[in-house]
Symmetry: C2
Subunit: 292 residues, 2 copies
């Protein structure tokens, strides 16, 4: 079965026709919901749910992003006043809050976080340097000087399981907790397909050539704005040449190693698997479920 | 068989270790090749090949992007002095040149075009408005004022065949040549998977719900910087509600219609198919080759 990763399963109806209609957008704001955040962190209620206030009470000059319709009520989030002041991925308090959200609320939070972070770090026109203005309910920023239109970024990342002789290649970066290994990954660059990016990244990081790249599943990752594209690829050899400037280590793990890691987590003797919110975790689970 | 679309099959070795090594980069430039362009258009030689000059002869202040190694010689392209002055997709002269290139040279040109266009339209820091400086052989721009790092954009787009009762849903925009139909498509937004983007776009444009989304193939599209992610999806009904603000028309086509269109092109009675350089063309061919 195709995995459904965390941050997927968006319950919001994006209702893009409202974005482009200033009158409907204003009405939606008057009667809408506003996501309560502490900088870019969610503020949870007693039941570990997202908290909402009244969008109509936000100051007229507050920059609100229209996230979509939540059961026919418009949902908004407010761009923080200056810069990206939110915690980066793996900042522990952020991770603790996020891991308590239900799957649908995680998807709402993910969309909101990516959008707010984009606005906060893209207030100026990359083409001419002028201050830009939000447009279309926050799904665009327009430059009043050179008329350039700017859109939220989504950066595609290839993330891959590499298999050889029934074993799986996983790697670790020095910033990972001790004993943690995960799927190799890298940003897809201009001028390459998903499959070419997979082969290039594996060769760059681990020095091994792969073929037969296949797509498994994808995930929106909001730290800050990746589209994780999960694949499997097959190596012809177990011999590795690790590029220590890219990763700290990479090793082959058996099916038993992977099964133990997923079952026991940090108590595993083989390796600590990626967190359940990461698509790499779903990909490992998917791999175990395939015919061996 | 998985299609290999135009602009894929990059012959350049990206050699990213050279990007991060100023001394090697300088040496590569002294002995390197420089892609000859007329603004963002390729300049072809008598055999319809790309033309190269000597990168070492470029002025010291020329902004060169390191494209990669072409048979052990470093290949560069120069950022045009001001703005994006190149022709947009479907500008006829551009299309005529591009359609004469071989597959590997098309991939080189595509990478170069996306990179140059990005530099030309991203000379300023989106975070603070200051003028940025190219870094890492052109794979980054750094802000001297706020220290932000900026990377080339790759915008993922979902493009999809929609099947129902053995027929295929294709649409057209008003800017398409008369009689042309192609796969529906749209940018993947923050907070959604590839599969969710496919379902959303089909519903927005054609008012029909789809399930069973499957990945087919991907393509880097350099006008200006898309990653086309080709999928197939299945509709439960042939009934359409077309959003005329998004597309001009959408219709169901039979297998015979699609076969005739691909075989006869503009002479087809059913519809004019997308150009062979578009992944939509490969996807239609792929669909015909599937078991019916």
């Amino acid at each position: 079965m195709t995995p459904v990763p965390a941050f997927a399963g968006q319950p919001l109806d994006r209702a893009d026709h409202i974005r482009t209609d200033p009158a409907r957008l204003a009405a939606a704001r008057r009667g809408g919901l506003l996501l309560k955040l502490d900088e870019l962190l969610p503020v949870l209620d007693d039941d570990d749910g997202l908290t909402w206030t009244d969008a109509g009470e936000a100051p007229a000059d507050a920059e609100l992003v229209f996230l979509g319709l939540l059961e026919d009520r418009a949902a908004f989030a407010e761009v923080p006043p200056r810069g990206d002041s939110g915690p980066a991925y793996a900042h522990r308090p952020a991770w603790a809050e996020v891991s308590r959200l239900s799957a649908p609320e995680l998807a709402i939070y993910g969309e909101a976080r990516t959008m707010l972070d984009w606005h906060a770090r893209h207030r100026f026109c990359a083409q001419c340097g002028e201050t830009t203005r939000p447009a279309k309910g926050g799904w665009q920023r327009d430059c009043p000087a050179c008329a350039a239109q700017h859109f939220p970024r989504v950066d595609p990342v290839a993330i891959m399981l590499v298999e050889c002789e029934g074993q799986l290649l996983l790697g670790r970066q020095s910033r990972f907790p001790r004993g943690s290994f995960s799927a190799l990954a890298g940003f897809i660059e201009p001028g390459e397909t998903v499959e070419e990016a997979v082969a290039r990244e594996v060769f760059e990081e681990a020095g091994v050539r792969v073929t037969g790249v296949r797509y498994i599943a994808s995930q929106p990752w909001p730290f800050p704005s990746q589209l994780m594209i999960g694949c499997i690829a097959y190596a012809a050899s177990l011999e590795l040449v690790i590029d220590k400037t890219e990763i700290e280590d990479a090793r082959w793990f058996t099916r038993a190693d992977v099964a133990e890691a997923l079952a026991k987590g940090a108590d595993s003797a083989s390796f600590i698997p990626p967190p359940t919110q990461a698509i790499a975790h779903d990909m490992l689970q998917w791999w175990l479920e395939q015919e061996s």
